[in-house]
């Protein structure tokens, strides 16, 4: 250990950062320099640096010096801390301490499309970037205890409400004025996806929040580049004032503190920050261990909460069946999260956020038991955290000039040490409040000439609610105590009738914990006062009862005693870690196969049709060769597929699986800025289930709640890969439009009659207006672009609009339209509208009356993706017929069959077969309906959709003719990797059963402490459908549609 042996490190005060208010006292007071020397202590100067017997010299609110040898200034008040340890004060970078502000409730009745704007701020009610929270700091002594009792001395704080939450403030937890406690007035900006208390409908989905953030970044950028431009000699700004944008200037200079609710969202935040080249500190959620290498690639520092989950309810088999393996796994692994993050060498701090403060130390010690080093833990609590909240120059270490913020403990705080006192800005904070637990135990009580045994125990009044009972006894005789009361000041009072011991009448006792045990007084029936002193009898109780100990550290100790008897449980983990970390996740990523599939029936989906007794070679993720009796090149595995059928992977044009936070941003009528690509959920078991049904690609579409919905995302079913890797590379951009009942809100209830449009006539008009707006937008952009660069500098640039940009892309044929439609009038209307605006409609989806206008569809060149046989579920599908696909196909329309359904997606082969039954479609044509045709509609037929050499090896092997009801997928490959294998699946089914059983036994064998934790509510999202109305931020709007 590197220790500076020289004696005094002199002090230089960095006062500029700290406001030293000279209090205007009624009588002038000469400031007196207060020197305090804490001697003979063990000093933990910084992570990894320790002095064994040194003196910490404090002057006023600062550390003046660390004296290892030599003289202590005579003026200093000396406090002997022999046997104590001093740590730098801990720092929590994520709190809302000291902010007691609420946004005004506007009391608007839903739906709310626009809010009242109060002040020159943003038009969306979830944007509060103008807020600077130092303006609202109001120190709160009571709340501060939640942190101080655990050794925290400073925090970063912000109102945790909204998407852009404003700029946080770093402050001391000392009980002083706001001015004195503020360490850094403008620390980091805070953000989240949750719109919080905003009463505005938009955004009601996760993708809406992300789109709003993206638009706001662009707006702010534009605003700050243009606000000072003067045009035509006008000096005052011609850009409408907006403080929210103004405050987002120079965003790149400060890392953004980003709160998310789950691991997928954490990655979304990381992606979003990276996209905008911003730095960030991400609030973890406790599951980082599950995808740590993916997270490491971003290298954003993390703020880790210690939110370990409550053990899932497995006491009965009924309850157990409703618990998922993922929940069971997380219960076992939660405490490994910090060490996994530490091992990945990601910088991190800890926060108490999300847990009760008295759980903090027990949890942290559990993490240490899992292998987190004390040095890393200390760094997280001090230097790392100080770095994050912008106070590293004067907080987080014991060093001259640093704030006198530190923690005095008895013993090693990371093992079983207890907090003795906490110093905030040079003032010792005495911690008075004692908990019941601290007082419980046995004492030998002496007063007058008596010596009685006092026993205090906890009684369960009812579940979760306890009180104290106690006795005074001498030998066999025992007297019950009455009126036992633990007062707020930490004093215990009780009454006892000691007549049998010779003290007549009821005696009243008041006791408190002292340095050596318990002390206090007794008042007898004659009102005579006698001093009482007690020593603790049992050794363990003595440990618990040392004086003035923080209550949380106490219960921590208690737990530690139980835990320390256990071996390092990391060696005993019974759970698996898979990708994704849910049941049926893969333990390792599949490899690209070099494979010779022999003697199969090949359904080529190209001009070769169906080839019997044929072979296929694949390598490097591609199909190499198709033919009969091919020879096996060296290095290729052979798969004998005699009697089996090989096809291209099924492609689903219309799906809503693998999405988080809502499939509709169904608020405004036009929401073309939202992107399904932002909200892919790679952990959705539906991906694996789809593979098992032979589906290798699916277009994930926005719902149909509004005419112009969001941007679609084509994915591949690469089970186990990240959200980004699931995206189909090089797929053309596309967008969901919608017509009919859903967009005119026909089935939304009586309240929803305000939004234009409410009729099919209005739907058309809305499209026209939006197209015109997009054209006008393009024109303005172009006009600006065409300016000479000198003029450009002067002219005010057009305000960017991702919404209109996406529509403009449609009009420029750069973004394909897949339009939800049912009846012939609306289909024809949109065809003609598209023709008027000179773009081609790529695909009508659903298009159940497509058969009525098949020749018009064919003439336009639009594709049609329909259901095999759905009808009659609402009025606009009353004329739907199962011969739709045949009729459209016969007229030359490029036709496919889609699912729009989680369950049916895995049986699209059967859906394709229905056209054979209802209208005599050929096998080849029927199979094309779910392979090459949707590939063409999605314009990815150069990559997938048929068994054509050169295309991606997205292949499915079936045990029977794929169109038969009796067919099952035996294997499915995506880009040459086998992501599904039925034999493996059978093994996995058994493995899931075994792993569940082991984890359940582990829970049943655990003590209550190991079972304790935060209540976990797994993300309980519904299955998404076109018309799912879901409010991702529903906690604010009960009864939202």
């Amino acid at each position: 250990m590197q220790i500076n042996n020289k004696i005094i490190i002199s002090c230089s005060i960095i006062s500029s950062l700290v406001s030293q208010t000279i209090f205007a006292a009624p009588n002038p007071v000469t400031p007196v320099s207060k020197l305090t020397a804490l001697t003979h202590a063990e000093l933990i100067i910084s992570p990894g640096k320790r002095l064994n017997n040194a003196t910490l010299l404090i002057e006023n609110n600062r550390i003046k010096a660390i004296i290892e040898q030599g003289d202590i200034p005579a003026a200093a008040l000396q406090i002997d801390l022999t046997g104590y340890t001093i740590y730098p004060g801990f720092i929590d970078p994520f709190t809302d301490y000291g902010i007691e502000f609420e946004y005004p409730k506007l009391g608007l009745t839903r739906p709310v499309y626009d809010i009242k704007r109060i002040g020159g701020n943003a038009e969306n009610g979830a944007i509060h970037s103008e807020k600077e929270w130092f303006n609202y700091v109001y120190p709160n002594k009571e709340r501060a205890k939640d942190w101080i009792n655990n050794g925290f001395t400073s925090v970063q704080t912000s109102k945790l409400d909204g998407i852009f939450r404003g700029t946080g403030v770093s402050l001391s937890l000392a009980d002083k004025t706001a001015n004195e406690v503020i360490y850094r007035a403008r620390s980091q900006p805070f953000m989240a996806f949750d719109k919080g208390s905003s009463e505005q409908d938009y955004p009601n989905s996760l993708m809406g929040s992300i789109a709003l953030i993206r638009q706001t970044f662009a707006d702010a950028n534009w605003y700050n580049q243009n606000k000072n431009k003067s045009v035509n000699g006008v000096t005052s700004s011609q850009v409408e004032f907006n403080i929210a944008f103004e405050q987002l200037d120079n965003l790149t200079e400060k890392p953004i503190v980003f709160e998310t609710n789950n691991l997928n969202d954490l990655f979304r935040a990381a992606n979003l920050l990276k996209e905008h080249k911003l730095s960030g500190y991400l609030l973890g959620n406790g599951q980082e261990y599950a995808r740590i290498s993916e997270l490491k690639a971003f290298n954003y520092p993390l703020i880790l909460p210690l939110n370990y989950p409550q053990a899932p309810e497995v006491a009965t088999d009924d309850a157990e069946r409703e618990v998922s393996l993922a929940e069971l796994r997380h219960w076992e692994r939660a405490a490994t999260n910090p060490v996994v993050v530490a091992n990945a060498e990601l910088p991190f701090a800890f926060t108490q956020y999300g847990i009760k403060s008295d759980a903090f130390w027990p949890r942290l010690r559990q993490a240490i038991a899992q292998g987190l080093t004390e040095e890393k833990a200390l760094a997280a609590l001090t230097t790392q955290a100080a770095e994050m909240i912008g106070t590293a120059e004067f907080a987080g270490k014991l060093a001259p000039g640093y704030m006198a913020d530190f923690v005095v403990t008895k013993g090693n705080i990371f093992k079983d040490g207890q907090i003795y006192s906490v110093w905030l800005q040079g003032q010792e904070q005495s911690i008075n409040s004692l908990s019941q637990e601290q007082l419980l135990g046995d004492y030998q009580l002496s007063f007058n000439n008596f010596s009685l045994d006092l026993s205090l125990q906890k009684t369960e009044v009812k579940a979760g609610d306890s009180s104290i009972k106690g006795t005074l006894s001498s030998g066999e005789r025992s007297i019950s105590l009455t009126h036992i009361k633990l007062e707020d000041n930490g004093r215990l009072s009780f009454n006892a009738d000691l007549s049998s011991a010779g003290i007549i009448g009821i005696s009243r006792f008041t006791l408190w914990l002292g340095t050596d045990g318990i002390q206090g007084r007794m008042v007898d029936a004659q009102s005579r006062t006698t001093n009482v002193a007690g020593v603790t009898i049992v050794q363990s109780a003595a440990t618990i009862k040392s004086a003035a100990t923080a209550k949380s550290a106490m219960s921590a100790t208690d737990q530690e005693h139980k835990q320390s008897t256990k071996v390092d449980i990391s060696a005993n983990l019974v759970s698996q870690l898979t990708f994704p970390n849910v049941a049926y996740g893969l333990s390792e990523a599949p490899k690209v196969e070099k494979l010779h599939i022999k003697n199969a029936t090949l359904w080529t989906s190209d001009k070769q049709g169906i080839l019997e007794h044929a072979d296929l070679l694949m390598a490097n993720g591609r199909i190499e060769k198709v033919g009969q009796q091919l020879s096996t090149p060296s290095g290729y595995q052979v798969l004998d597929a005699t009697g089996k059928h090989l096809t291209a992977g099924i492609i689903d044009e219309h799906s809503h699986i693998a999405i988080n936070g809502g499939t509709n941003e169904g608020t405004d009528a036009v929401t073309s800025e939202v992107r399904i690509g932002d909200i892919i959920n790679p952990e959705d078991i539906s991906i694996y289930r789809a593979l098992a049904g032979g589906v290798t690609s699916a277009q994930l579409l926005h719902g149909s709640a509004n005419p112009i919905g969001g941007q679609s995302q084509l994915i591949k079913m690469k089970w186990g890969e990240s959200a980004e890797q699931l995206k189909f590379a090089n797929a053309p951009a596309s967008i969901k439009f919608a017509l009919g009942e859903n967009v005119k809100q026909s089935n939304w209830g009586e309240k929803f009659v305000q939004r234009f449009p409410q009729t099919r006539m209005g739907v058309k008009a809305l499209f026209e207006e939006t197209f015109d707006a997009a054209l006008a937008y393009e024109k303005v952009l172009k006009a600006y672009d065409d300016l000479r660069s000198t003029d450009k500098k002067k002219a005010i640039a057009p305000r960017p609009s991702y919404r209109l940009q996406a529509v403009a892309e449609v009009l420029k044929q750069q973004r394909d339209v897949h339009i939800h439609s049912y009846v012939q009038s609306e289909i024809l209307m949109f065809l003609r509208l598209a023709e008027a605006y000179r773009f081609k409609v790529q695909t009508f989806t659903h298009v159940l009356e497509g058969y009525k206008v098949a020749s018009e569809l064919a003439a336009h060149g639009a594709g049609a993706s329909t259901f095999a046989d759905w009808w009659a579920y609402k009025f606009e599908v009353y004329d739907a017929i199962p011969q739709n696909a045949c009729l459209m196909q016969n007229k030359g329309v490029l036709t496919s069959i889609n699912s729009d359904d989680y369950e049916m997606q895995r049986r699209l082969n059967q859906e394709a077969a229905k056209s054979m039954m209802y209208c005599d479609m050929s096998k080849e044509d029927a199979w094309n309906m779910v392979t090459i045709n949707p590939a063409k509609q999605l314009r990815v037929d150069e990559f997938v959709g048929s068994l054509t050499p050169g295309k991606m090896a997205d292949l499915v092997l079936w045990n029977a003719e794929p169109l038969s009801i009796y067919a099952k997928v035996t294997q499915a490959w995506v880009e040459g990797k086998r992501y599904f294998d039925r034999d493996q699946d059978q093994l996995a089914q058994q493995a899931v059963v075994n792993e569940r059983a082991a984890l359940i036994q582990k829970i049943l064998n655990s003590d209550d402490k190991a079972k304790a934790g935060e209540k976990v509510t797994p993300l309980n999202e519904p299955q998404w459908h076109c018309d799912t109305q879901y409010n991702a931020w529903g906690h604010n709007h009960q009864g939202a549609q």
């Binding site: 393996l325 009659a872 009025f875 054979m916 009801i965 009796y966 899931v992």
Partner: protein, 435 residues
């Protein structure tokens, strides 16, 4: 040679029918005998018989065998419609259980929906009062080989009585097929557990209240039954109560309780109820029923399993569990039939059976689960098989009735009446073929 015109006529009729028909008229009572020749006959009760003839007289199957027409009398020839079914498959008409056909026309259009009443003690209401035999949905159901359906009211608690109908009728009275009286109870369940602890407790309490309420209702019904028995013997017999009066057959052992329940907990409660009152019990749903084999066998319960085309109800379950449950029920020796809890979609029942065969049932078991097994649990003893004495309700297909890849229904008879297979979809198809 003399038979030729008839055969030709039939063939012509079948091809030409969709073109000419625009109204779908229920078939009249069987007037001529029907002889279906040389079919592969899926008898269900006696296995699969190739090159076999089936004779239907007066609505009933009167003979199944080879060369039934080898020595026909002239009179017989004149009175018999002969169908050459060489290379084709003959099946008993399929029975769709747990449907809301005729009670719903367009699910999202409220005026057309009559499937669920308010309140949770409605044992006295019956699907028969609302069934619309002219529903446009019904001919599309027949088109896939379904001749009969159970029409079931939905709702909460005691939701009412179902009826069995044949799917080609002028009125409900024509349509009704005699069966055991059927009472439906939807056993309470917590559909979505809220996240909030307080809300959770509320929901649990509410669910328990609903269970208690049902148990009390069954007890009240029982008291009424006791006092009904005591009429004439006892002065204290209760006053007339429509609800409990309706439920008497249940306590008298003349009716079946169809209890809609999926989870172990629900099913166990229903079993306890059935034990207490000696009810004939059918579990509808029965997702977890295979886990409770011995308890179900003890009360001789059977199961209607409608979830073949469903996702696993729980995340960790085998991805193919819903497909496999029929075979698990078979292994557990629990009598069951497949259902399809839907309206328009119940035409896909045959394919649910087919898919169950891909996952462990034999094709014969799969067919039986949508024919004879269904009839048995409805208490119908002359439906669901091709055997002498059974109703002449049969379906002729070019291929496998359970596989849409090959299935093509060519003809259907209900009680010997040849049914028009035309429907709204065929009509629109034919219409737009002309465009």
């Amino acid at each position: 040679m003399q038979y030729l015109p008839t055969t030709l006529l039939l063939t012509m009729l079948m091809v030409a029918m969709p073109v000419i028909a625009n109204d779908i008229v229920p078939a009249p009572k069987q007037s001529r005998n029907v002889l279906i020749k040389n079919a592969t006959v899926h008898t269900v009760s006696q296995g699969v018989l190739s090159n076999t003839d089936v004779l239907i007289e007066n609505g009933k199957i009167t003979a199944v065998g080879s060369h039934l027409d080898s020595t026909p009398t002239t009179a017989e020839i004149n009175e018999t419609q002969i169908v050459d079914a060489s290379g084709k498959h003959l099946y008993p008409g399929l029975i769709a259980l747990d449907t809301s056909l005729g009670l719903v026309e367009i699910d999202m259009s409220r005026p057309t929906v009559d499937k669920a009443e308010v309140g949770d003690i409605n044992p006295h209401i019956s699907a028969a009062s609302a069934y619309n035999p002219d529903s446009e949905l019904i001919p599309t159901i027949r088109y896939n080989g379904i001749t009969h359906a159970q029409i079931v009211p939905s709702g909460e608690g005691l939701a009412g009585q179902s009826v069995v109908v044949n799917l080609d009728a002028w009125t409900i009275e024509d349509a009704l097929t005699p069966s055991t009286a059927q009472f439906h109870v939807y056993w309470p369940q917590i559909k979505r557990m809220p996240e909030d602890d307080k809300e959770k407790i509320k929901v649990i309490e509410k669910n328990q209240d609903a269970i208690n309420k049902l148990n009390i209702a069954f007890e009240d019904g029982y008291r009424y039954f006791l006092s009904d028995k005591a009429i004439g013997k006892d002065e204290t017999s209760a006053t007339h109560n429509l609800r409990w009066q309706a439920m008497l057959p249940l306590y008298q052992g003349k009716a079946t309780l169809f209890a809609h329940a999926d989870s172990v907990g629900q099913i166990e409660q229903v079993i306890a109820l059935a034990k207490k009152y000696q009810f004939k019990l059918v579990i509808v749903g029965g997702y977890d029923a295979w886990r409770l084999a011995s308890s179900l066998r003890e009360v001789k319960a059977s199961v209607i399993y409608p979830h073949t085309f469903s996702l696993p109800k729980r995340k960790d379950e085998p991805i193919d569990l819903p497909f496999k449950i029929p075979s698990l029920l078979t292994n557990a020796q629990i009598p069951f039939a497949l259902g399809f809890s839907s309206d328009w979609d119940s035409r896909n029942l045959p394919y649910a059976a087919g898919y169950s065969a891909a996952y462990g049932l034999t094709p014969e078991q799969a067919l039986k689960s949508v024919t004879l097994d269904a009839a048995t649990l409805l208490g119908i003893d002359d439906l669901g098989a091709i055997a002498v004495g059974y109703r002449g309700s049969v379906v002729l297909s070019e291929g496998d009735i359970l596989d849409p890849m090959t299935n093509k229904i060519e003809a259907m008879w209900i009680d010997g009446r040849q049914i028009d297979l035309n429907n709204r979809h065929q009509q629109l198809y034919q219409k737009y073929l002309k465009r």
